[in-house]
Subunit: 174 residues, 2 copies
DNA sequence: AAACATACCATCCGAAACAGACTGTTGTCA
DNA sequence: TGACAACAGTCTGTTTCGGATGGTATGTTT
C-alpha cells in the first residue's frame, strides 16, 4: 500500500514539527509552527505544507483524518513508521551538502561596490540579529534544547556576517 | 522581439561570468568557469548553463553565434542590454532574502544528538576551510577584487561554523 | 437580519530549477 | 587504426517555487 517515496528535508520538517509540538495538526497549523520556528532559517512555500503531508500520508508516514463536518480540515499525525524515519534521520550522519545562497555575496563576487552593498546588508542582518537575540532572551533553558542550539548558530552567523560587512563598509585598506 | 523574462540569480551568474572572464563563451566554458569560481558557494546543475544562456539570448541579453563548422558550438556574448542589466543589478540594493539550508542545522533543531552530529560537521567544514584557504593563499591581491572578498566571507563562515561545532563536540555545560 | 469585514483555510498552476542519464565528437597516443 | 580520455551537449521526468485565487467560518456593524 505505502508507495515508496524518498524523504527530503521538507519531509523531515513535517515529521519533525509533528513530533515536536503536537500529536495532530492541519497543514494550516504546520504553516504557523514552521514560520514561527524552523522557518527562520529554512523557508518553504506554504503550499508545500499542504502537498507534503499528503504525500507522506500516502506513503504511510502519517495518518490522515478528515474532520467529518464544518471545514473538513485534514488532521495529520505520525505513524510508527514516521516516528522511526525521523529518529533514524536524526541519528545518521551523511555528509549532506548545505546551501548558502546569498544574492549579496553573488553581487560582491561580480564586482559590486562593497561599501554600498554593505549598507543594505548591515540593515538586514542587524535586524535579523536583534530578532534572534530577542528569541534567545526569552528562552533561557526551558523547552527542548535543539531549537535553542540552532538559534545559537544563527546568532553567530549573523554576528560574523555583520562584522564582515562592517569591515567592507569602511573603505580603508583590505 | 525580445520576450519579457524575469532575471533570476542564475541569469546574473551567466551575465556575470561573461562580463568577468571573456567576451565570448560556450556553455561548456561557462560550466568550467562556474565550477571553478562561483560554484563554490552557489551551485547549479550544468544543464542550467545550457538552458539559461539560450533563454537570455531569446530575450536579448546575449547574442548567440553558432560556429559555422566543426562542433558548431554556440558562442554567447553580452549585448548592451545584458551589460546594463548586470550593472543595474549590481548597483541596486534590494533586501533579497538569502538562504541558508543546512540539513545538519535542521537535525540539531529537531533534537539530534549534538556531540554526534558535530563529528561529521567538523570533518566537512574543516575540509572546506582548507580548500578556501588554499585558494586564498595563491591569490594575494591580483585579479579582480570581488572573488577575493567573497572568499573572505566564506572563510569567516567556515571558521565560525567550526567553532560552533567544536563547542558542541565537547559535552560540557551549555 | 442584511451587509460587511476579517480571519481562517486550501487548492491550483505556470515557471523555474533540479538531477542525472544519455549521446555524440575530437584529439592523441600506442 | 583503434582505444580511450576529454570534450560538449541534449533531453526528460520530477520537484520546488511563488503567488493568484477562491472558498468558509466568525464576528460586527447598521
Amino acid at each position: 500500500m505505502p508507495d515508496e517515496i524518498q524523504l527530503t528535508p521538507t519531509s523531515y520538517i513535517v515529521l519533525g514539527l509533528l513530533s515536536m509540538f503536537v500529536g495532530e495538526a492541519t497543514p494550516y497549523d504546520l504553516k504557523g509552527m514552521a514560520s514561527a520556528s524552523v522557518g527562520q532559517f529554512w523557508t518553504l512555500p506554504h503550499s508545500q505544507l499542504y502537498a507534503e503531508p499528503a504525500r507522506l500520508a500516502r506513503a504511510g508516514y502519517l495518518t490522515e483524518n478528515q474532520e467529518p463536518s464544518g471545514r473538513r480540515r485534514k488532521l495529520y499525525s505520525l505513524t510508527e513508521l514516521g516516528r522511526e524515519a525521523l529518529a533514524s534521520w536524526l541519528g545518521v550522519f551523511t555528509p549532506e551538502p548545505y546551501v548558502l545562497r546569498d544574492p549579496a555575496l553573488l553581487k560582491l563576487f561580480f564586482g559590486a561596490d562593497a561599501t554600498h552593498l554593505a549598507e543594505g546588508q548591515l540593515t538586514t542582518h542587524r535586524q535579523k540579529l536583534v530578532e534572534y537575540e530577542a528569541y534567545a532572551a526569552h528562552d533561557p533553558g526551558t523547552g527542548p534544547r535543539g531549537p535553542w542550539q540552532a538559534l545559537q548558530l544563527g546568532i553567530r552567523h549573523e554576528r560574523e556576517t555583520i562584522d564582515f560587512w562592517e569591515e567592507q563598509a569602511r573603505p580603508n585598506g583590505r
